[in-house]
């Protein structure tokens, strides 16, 4: 196995040698066990993967919203609104942690209120507070200190960092994403263990075949490859089936609802739909490694 794997070696591996294949008899239940285990594990892996990808997506979105969702709300009598806003901006410009601050235009404010009052509402007639949007820099701002300063310097100005309650959610989503990847690791570990068991059973059941093959001059690598090829192809097939079923299940999952909900947002988007295709490939690698190790070990023991 020291030499480089060439493409034609891989195709040889897939097409195989029909004659050589027959030397090892079909291995009944181990074949079905491998196929079944690979399919089930791949099915589970699709969901773990979807969970990871969705949670990572949510965590990213929430984190970016968090970074720019502090506002200062100014309530002042009609005539003093402008002056108060300017005073607040001055305070904000000298506050550490504030990357930029901007007074929202009337149009923007109207848009924010639309969902609650409808498009026809004559907002001019209402005493609407002025909003200043704050974009924080990486360090983040010290909300308590800012609050105290505003209280002293700009009466009627209130800092609203309402999105802060989401901070633990961001952490939780990130953790969930990690747990998803961890589960995928566990799923493939179990797949490897099951395939090792099945391969060991197949090797043990074929001890006599192995003896005869050796008597007529078969090398260990040749005997091992007969088993490795079978188990790898079976695992890839099973995993592809399980993956297809898992993806189908995701596709029929009800969608819609708020964009940032984990439940209705579980799944892949855009290019991330390609992720599940990696599952059969990884399953193939796991099966290859597991069977190769099992075969080498057994062949060493069967002297």
């Amino acid at each position: 196995m020291r030499d480089v794997i060439h493409l034609n070696k891989i195709t040889d591996f897939i097409i195989g040698d029909a004659q050589a294949e027959r030397a090892v008899p079909p291995t009944g239940f181990t074949a079905r066990l491998t196929l079944f285990a690979a399919a089930v594990m791949a099915f589970l892996a699709v969901f773990a993967l979807a969970l990871s990808v969705s949670a990572a997506r949510l965590s990213e979105r929430w984190a970016s919203e968090l970074a720019q969702s502090a506002t200062v709300r100014i309530s002042a009598p009609q005539g003093q609104m402008q002056a108060s806003s300017e005073a607040a901006l001055v305070v904000l410009q000298t506050t550490p942690g504030v990357a930029s601050a901007r007074v929202l235009s009337d149009a923007e404010q109207r848009k924010l209120l639309e969902p609650w009052f409808g498009p026809e509402m004559p907002l001019e007639a209402l005493p609407i507070p002025q909003l200043i949007e704050i974009i924080e820099d990486e360090e983040g701002l010290d909300a308590e200190a800012l609050r105290l300063r505003l209280l002293g310097e700009v009466p009627g100005a209130v800092l609203d960092d309402h999105a802060r309650w989401r901070a633990p959610l961001v952490a939780a989503a990130a953790r969930l994403s990690f747990l998803g990847w961890f589960s995928i690791g566990l799923i493939f570990a179990v797949m490897g263990a099951m395939i090792t068991l099945a391969a060991n059973a197949a090797l043990a059941a074929n001890a006599k075949v192995i003896t005869v093959m050796r008597l007529v001059g078969a090398k260990d690598g040749y005997i091992a490859s007969a088993f490795v090829r079978r188990f790898t192809l079976r695992s890839v097939t099973g995993a592809a089936l399980g993956m297809a079923l898992g993806v189908a299940a995701l596709l029929v999952l009800p969608t819609g609802g708020p964009q940032d909900s984990l439940l209705s947002g579980l799944g892949f988007q855009g290019a991330s739909w390609l992720w599940p295709l990696a599952i059969p490939l990884v399953a193939g690698l796991v099966a290859f490694g597991a069977t190769q190790a099992a075969a080498r070990r057994t062949l060493k023991e069967l002297r």
Binding site: D17, Q19, A20, R22, A23, P25, V209, T211, V212, M213, R214, L215, V216, G217, A218, K219, D220, G221, Y222, I223
Partner: protein, 219 residues
């Protein structure tokens, strides 16, 4: 060299050399160690003392792949034939080619010729358990020679077949020896040895009492 299975020496301190192209019989009472000596000769067992060289190579210095390559040069007719029962007789005979990674399709003519040489022309697709004792022995011989080995080892090849059939088998082995191959036949069938002596210059080795001795010419 010497060999022991653990409980006392079975073959003690024997010195032997088999020149290429010779024809040997290996005889001795049951349990004397004939099969054991043959197993040493194709690398299934390693001597427990002393040195054994096959084709001028020290067997102890060979790894498993080395042993596998060695076996491609030594055709063995095993006492119990050692077929794969799920494969047809033709596939069993071709197995040494298969495991050596050689094309069986390309050797079809060769295989057919070999099968008719051992008188199994019509039995290609039969499974091993469907064959008679004599047919099995001849199929085993065909498998032993398909790689055109330099040496043929046969362990009791006439063990459970009738006289006529054993004569046919002997004839095949004599033919192989005339082609220049070294032949060693383990047997306790003295009739077979006598029959061979009229056809070929055969030497007889006898294992008795842990030793090997050249048997007298009066056999």
């Amino acid at each position: 060299m010497a060999y022991s299975y653990g409980d006392g020496e079975l073959l003690g301190d024997m010195t032997l050399s088999l020149p290429a192209g010779s024809f040997y019989f290996l005889t001795g009472p049951s349990g004397a160690g004939k099969t054991t000596l043959l197993k040493l000769c194709y690398g299934e067992l390693l001597p427990t003392a002393g040195q054994l060289r096959l084709f001028d190579k020290d067997v102890r210095a060979l790894d498993r792949d080395g042993i596998a390559e060695l076996r491609r040069r030594i055709g063995v007719v095993h006492q119990d034939c050692q077929f794969l029962d799920h494969l047809s007789i033709a596939d069993n005979i071709a197995l040494p080619l298969t495991v050596a990674g050689q094309s069986v399709a390309g050797a079809q003519d060769n295989l057919a010729e070999l099968m008719s040489w051992v008188g199994l022309r019509g039995r290609a697709s039969a499974l091993p358990p469907e064959l008679s004792g004599g047919e099995r022995q001849r199929a085993a011989l065909a498998r032993a020679v398909i790689m055109s080995p330099d040496v043929i080892l046969a362990d009791e090849p006439t063990g459970n077949i009738d006289w006529e059939m054993s004569q046919r088998l002997l004839q095949l082995l004599v033919e192989l020896n005339r082609m220049g191959k070294t032949v060693v036949i383990a047997t306790h069938d003295l009739g077979l040895i006598r029959a061979a002596k009229s056809q070929v210059q055969a030497r007889v080795l006898r294992i008795a009492g842990r030793r090997i001795q050249q048997a007298g010419a009066d056999l």
